[in-house]
């Protein structure tokens, strides 16, 4: 019965070794304890002794290959009666070369997740996350339970952290029948809008200019064109669309009012993309009339109708609800005389339009009634100074009171 000569494991972490040289030759007679071959390990060269006596055969080749521990590398024809029987080697039939499994490679360089690099060429951060909201876990728990929007709570803790007391102060007082009152969670749209508007108020220093603008000429101009436009595009031009037309052109003459804050700089936009604030099932959405300064009244009317219908039907893609450079908000149809709006970040201004009211004004020493609308411009004082805003408003008033739609 042949006795196996195996490549021995000698170190705790050893998995393979290399036969460096045989000290005996095929067919030699060997005795137990004789050195048969030299083995190379990661640490040093080691002599391997014979496990028994007899004739040694089938020596494995010396070719530098890594051999797995336990692999037979030769056989001894055993002649002693009481020699230990060879173990059933698990690798007896395995090839003499270690399998292709590579030694444990050092951990591959983990590629660090690359944060999206912000460069000056990036588009304005209309879709970026707002800065992290600091709030203690307990404050968050209370806010969740009471329906308070953390983003709207002023944090009294360190670094503006919202603490429980801040939330408690904001939460509605508890009524005896509080259980009967409805608690309506924000829709996704509202949640996002709420965050952005709160951020706008927090970060943009708003100031307001008001102008009472005479609408006589504009009304007349619109009614002149109404039938033609309607015939061309299927709907009549509204006051809002007309104002968008005029504001877009005025913005081209006052670029700082058609700009966005980007870091410590103002990005001046090439086009006037006018957002029109609209209500959709109780939520505020702002579809955008793109490149408004190049479009005719008819084109703008058609586009506006399309946007309005798309908003109502919930078919308007999100891309059309974002990215304006200036916003118009008209609450006149709801009977509001005047109001000031919150800038739609990252824009630098927003125009709030009140209702047209016959108002007594002085003309040529007489008191007459004229249709006036109160327009309020909210501007971001980081980009727009008082004079800049005033000049824009003057220009806009002039366009409205002496409109030209060619």
């Amino acid at each position: 019965m042949a006795l196996e000569v195996v490549l021995p494991k000698v170190d705790m972490d050893m998995e393979t070794g290399v036969i460096a040289a045989w000290r005996v030759a095929e067919g030699d007679r060997v005795n137990a304890g004789d050195v048969l071959f030299e083995m190379e390990t990661s640490k040093s060269i080691m002599e391997v002794e014979s496990p028994g006596s007899g004739i040694i055969r089938n020596l494995a080749p010396v070719d530098g290959a890594a051999v797995a521990v336990g692999t037979p590398v030769a056989w001894i024809d055993d002649e002693r009666a009481d020699a230990p029987r060879a173990l059933h080697a698990t690798a007896a039939d395995a090839s003499r070369r270690a399998d292709a499994a590579p030694p444990r490679a050092p951990a591959a360089q983990a590629s660090a997740p690359r944060a999206a690099a912000r460069t000056a060429d990036d588009p304005p951060n209309v879709t970026d996350e707002p800065p992290p909201l600091r709030a203690t876990p307990y404050a968050r728990q209370l806010a969740r339970a009471s329906g308070v929007d953390l983003a709207s709570v002023h944090g009294s803790g360190p670094r503006g952290r919202v603490v429980a007391a801040d939330v408690v102060a904001r939460a509605p007082a508890e009524h005896a029948d509080a259980a009967d009152e409805a608690l309506v969670p924000f829709s996704a749209t509202r949640r996002i809008a709420a965050q952005r508007l709160a951020e706008s108020v927090r970060t943009a220093p708003h100031f307001y200019l008001t102008a009472h603008v005479e609408m006589t000429a504009l009304r007349a101009a619109l009614s002149e064109r109404s039938r033609d436009v309607h015939r061309a595009v299927g709907s009549a031009p509204t006051l809002t669309v007309a104002l968008a037309f005029l504001a877009a052109r005025a913005l081209m003459r006052h670029p700082m009012v058609n700009a966005s804050v980007q870091g410590p700089a103002a990005r001046l936009h090439r086009h006037a993309d006018i957002g029109i604030a609209m209500d959709r099932d109780g939520d505020l959405v702002v579809p955008v009339l793109r490149n408004a300064e190049t479009r005719s009244l008819a084109e703008l009317t058609a586009d506006f109708a399309r946007l309005r219908d798309g908003v109502r039907a919930h078919t308007l893609p999100p891309a059309e609800l974002a990215g304006g450079t200036f916003t118009l908000s008209n609450l006149g149809m709801h009977g509001v005389d005047a109001f000031t709006a919150i800038i739609n970040p990252p824009q630098s201004a927003i125009l709030a339009i009140g209702r047209v009211v016959d108002t007594p004004v002085g003309r040529d020493g007489q008191i007459v009634l004229r249709p006036l609308a109160t327009l309020s411009l909210s501007s971001d004082h980081r980009i727009v100074d008082g004079v800049t805003a005033a000049r824009f408003m003057a220009d806009l008033r002039q366009s409205i009171e002496h409109p030209a739609f060619e």
Binding site: V6, P8, K9, D11, E15, S44, G70, D82, P84
Partner: protein
């Protein structure tokens, strides 16, 4: 005249051999064969990658282990070293459960949690091999205190190597065993080397037993490869401890044929030295003496060797077919109750 003495005179055998009856000698030789076969089997398993970690073989030191333990009762205690497979078998451990432990199996003496260096057979009086050099010495002091406090007549035998004799724990332990006259037998298996450092460079005195005087106990040095001599010296020390006369330091000078552990390249000693000690192999030496003295015939010796071989092969089969522990049991037995 005792029968032993008569036999001694008749057969011209030395008293140490005559002091051991045939049954005892047969048991001793069987245990030495068991140890040898076991160590070789463990070695083979290791070389084939079947055993995790490393192991410390005592091939060549069988007479020291078996001779020292021979006079002990089953209820006497031993504490052993990282090179403790031989002590464990000498004390009567089941090689199957030992090998199962080396294979990390649930059926091993330590349920796979300890491995070669921590092998223990608590029911059989083996309070464990120890992975820390000199780790067992202070523990032996406590065992001695415990035996005295419970008024038992047991003995605690603690094994250690020449390297341990330079640890602080050695000195503290011998001192306390002596001042309190504890029933402890300190057995130093001096195999001339720590890991790679020879005792001539490591130790200020020539024999470990020279230090016994510093602790006012008997110090005895014997040829650790001569089983009857080891047994005789051990018997004297064990009897002394058992009758309450206190501890003894017994030094068995021996040699380990294999390296310190499996990764030892043997760069610190010469082949000639290893060969010289291989020629002084305690097993053939004892067999020769027993045959000459007419205690055993050649077929007896062959039978013993074959019995040992069978036992070890059965141990291998048992170990290989035993189950592995369940990782869900990882935290079991960290604490009692």
């Amino acid at each position: 005249m005792s029968r032993d003495a008569v036999r001694a005179v008749k057969a011209r055998v030395r008293p140490e051999l005559a002091a051991l009856d045939r049954a005892t000698l047969r048991t001793a030789l069987l245990r030495m064969h068991l140890i040898r076969r076991f160590e070789e089997m463990a070695e083979q398993s290791y070389m084939r990658g079947l055993v995790h970690g490393t192991m410390h073989l005592s091939i060549g030191q069988e007479a020291s282990a078996v001779g020292a333990v021979l006079p002990l009762r089953r209820d006497d205690y031993i504490l052993s070293t990282h090179r403790g497979h031989g002590h464990c078998i000498a004390k009567g451990a089941d090689p199957a459960r030992m090998l199962a432990e080396f294979f990390g199996k649930e059926t091993g003496y330590c349920r796979g949690r300890g491995g070669s260096m921590h092998i223990a057979d608590v029911e059989g009086g083996n309070l464990g091999a120890n992975g820390i050099v000199a780790g067992g010495l202070p523990i032996a002091v406590g065992v001695g205190m415990s035996i005295k406090a419970q008024k038992q007549d047991r003995v605690c035998m603690v094994f250690f190597g020449d390297g341990a004799a330079n640890e602080g724990a050695f000195h503290e332990s011998l001192n306390m065993a002596s001042i309190w006259r504890l029933p402890v037998v300190f057995v130093c298996e001096n195999n001339q080397y720590g890991m790679s450092m020879d005792i001539g460079q490591a130790m200020a005195v020539a024999n470990v037993a020279d230090r016994a005087a510093a602790y006012a106990m008997p110090g005895v040095t014997v040829d650790g490869n001569d089983l009857p001599v080891v047994a005789a010296a051990s018997r004297a020390a064990v009897d002394r401890a058992r009758r309450g006369a206190g501890p003894t330091l017994l030094e068995c000078r021996t040699y380990r044929i294999r390296g310190h552990s499996k990764s030892d390249r043997n760069l610190y000693r010469t082949k000639e030295e290893i060969e010289r000690w291989r020629a002084a192999d305690p097993i053939p030496r004892l067999e020769g003496e027993l045959r000459e003295a007419g205690v055993l015939g050649p077929s007896d010796v062959a039978d013993i060797a074959a019995e040992a071989q069978r036992t070890i092969e059965a141990a291998l089969a048992f170990a290989q077919s035993s189950p592995d522990p369940d990782p869900a049991d990882l935290l079991r037995d960290v604490y009692a109750a």
